[in-house]
Amino acid sequence: MVNFCGKEFSSRLLIGSALYESPAIMQDAIRASGAQIVTVSLRRETAGGKAGDVFWSLIRDLGVTVLPNTAGCRTVREAVTTAKLARELFGTNWIKLEVIGDNDTLQPDVVGLVEAATELVNDGFEVFPYCTEDLSVAMRLVDAGCRVVMPWAAPIGSARGITNRDALKLLRDRLPDITLVVDAGLGAPSHAAAALELGFDAVLLNTAIAKAADAVAMAGAFKLAVEAGRIAYESGLMDARDFASPSTPVIGTPFWHAVS
């Protein structure tokens, strides 16, 4: 089980609700992933809010915990107000906090992120900050009161997998009591497994599942990979070494004799 802000979940896969080919595929993929936490967003809508109503009823049908995001926010003020709108709209004090600093990489503005997280925690939110892999930033977020920290593996939607393994491992070693989630940039189930093998508590996926040729099957593949990665971590992975170490016993090898 994994703990998010005092609640226990059996699934270590968090899934996004965007970019699927159809609403039905979205629902089937979310079910196939086994995810119990689903990210959602909030937007302006001109047509009287009817499309929002349809989407919201599809999500409620799934019986999952929703995690609203502040995607697209570029200032502390926008992010904080969006979080408060999300609390009102979705009836939850959980927020995936995004404060974007750069349009091309969608790199988090970590200075604004810490400021917004501080303000929101003081207002009663459980903040899930989308951040870089920088240890000092993560520690500032923890100091601000975040019980979850969500570093990227690579830029959102890039499918590059873990680009800075040492930094992610350092986060795990230095923040043993914080729920750590790899949030962005994973492209393949093997990437997700690698994150869990490092000891990350969970991964958050969207594009890699939603844009697969068969999103429902890919959701199942990620589910298995996350489970395998976690079991591997709990089982104690062996350390890498530079030279070979024979697995077959050496003593009693036929025809062997000492050469002087």
Partner: protein
Amino acid sequence: MRVIVNGEHTEVAAGRVDALLSELDYAGSHVAVAVNFEVVPRTKWADTALNSGDEIEIITPRQGG
């Protein structure tokens, strides 16, 4: 009265948030509202007066990652 609704200058008759939502055809929809960057809870829609030049955000659930 001219206000800004979702970034657009809009001429409206409504003087309160609940009336504005009806006027703009949002009645009965699942929305949240902010006026000048302050969220107005559903329970306060009927009591919240609008003033000329107010910036109003009306937002709905949407897919997100």
